[in-house]
Subunit: 171 residues, 2 copies
DNA sequence: ATAGGTGCAAAACCTTTGCGCTGAC
DNA sequence: GTCAGCGCAAAGGTTTTGCACCTAT
């Protein structure tokens, strides 16, 4: 069965989604599915727009925004808000769902998984009579704090590489 | 001892914070502390600006933004991002920390507490060598889903009243 | 043929900033 | 008297939209 983690199946899934909504498969949409699903880490609309331009397959920024929205709606991308004023996306279902730790000083993003937290969230929400569609748990820590504990977010993040990073916007 | 939950103590706390940073206590800052700490629910900068104007104590939007930032830094307000493009604030420490459920259709916000989730977050993060500064867990659900389970976010939210609500921005 | 899509430029939004004047300390 | 803060208007940055032309179905 098709899984969104496989680039080939991803395109098929997206085309099915489009067909169901009476929308069309265009060159730009195919390009974006192909390119985005080979990416790792988090990216903004502008990242995508510039990346595609550099790779010789330019897509207008307006279309990038429109298509990112569709891809999120189709469940191929997951959107996040890290409080820095830009929406960020990452591939969905590429691996187990994970939570994010943001360094308040350098804006590095560290990820980790916790099946226990997952399970507890579902369970508690169910107790309140809700069924979760998706969720976002972001924890904020400061470099100073991390340094004191011997683990710096910046160092962790650099070890991975690949995840785009932004300098802090405010003091 | 002063608690930020008490409006009188809140002003004292804020003045201490300002003094420590070499900043000044002004009429606008006092007004905002007084008015904001008698609010319930979540509010945006624009909500605050319009509210103060209506109450006959206008403060410019620029100052509202500047002061909200200070109040968050001082720990009197807690900021949230609900993915609707505007930063929202609420009083900090008014009651136990709580998580948010957002209705994807009507943007209603429902809150609930879960000491279990709290504890588990701290514990898991500690296992990874981090110390949490603060966190934000937002769960998204759709009205349709909620209706199917017999609990509608809109109905829950209306029962409370007081919390500012925004119509959905996108289709 | 007929929607829907694209690119461009303009608009919309939210938030921040520059600046001259005011006011707290 | 100084330095920070205020209001205003302008600038910034991100995302959305109107429109004329294009293209998948």
């Amino acid at each position: 069965m098709p899984s969104p983690g496989d680039p080939d199946d991803a395109l098929a899934l997206f085309e099915g989604f489009l067909k169901r909504k009476g929308l069309k498969t265009t060159a730009q949409r195919r390009t974006m599915v192909r390119r985005l699903l080979e990416r790792t880490g988090h990216f903004t609309a502008v990242d995508v727009h510039e990346g595609l331009k550099d790779e010789g397959e330019p897509v207008s920024l307006a279309t990038v925004y429109r298509t990112l929205g569709l891809l999120e709606e189709a469940g191929l991308l997951q959107g996040h808000d890290f409080d820095d004023g830009q929406r960020r996306y990452e591939r969905a279902h590429t691996r187990e769902h994970h939570e994010h730790v943001i360094c308040l000083d350098c804006r590095a993003v560290v990820e980790f998984q916790s099946p226990e937290i997952e399970a507890l969230q579902d369970q508690v929400l169910a107790q309140h009579g809700f069924r979760m569609v998706h969720h976002s748990l972001t924890m904020f820590a400061s470099c100073e704090t991390l340094r004191a504990t011997g683990t710096c977010a910046r160092r962790e993040a650099e070890r991975r590489a690949g995840a785009p990073r932004t300098p802090p916007r405010r003091t």
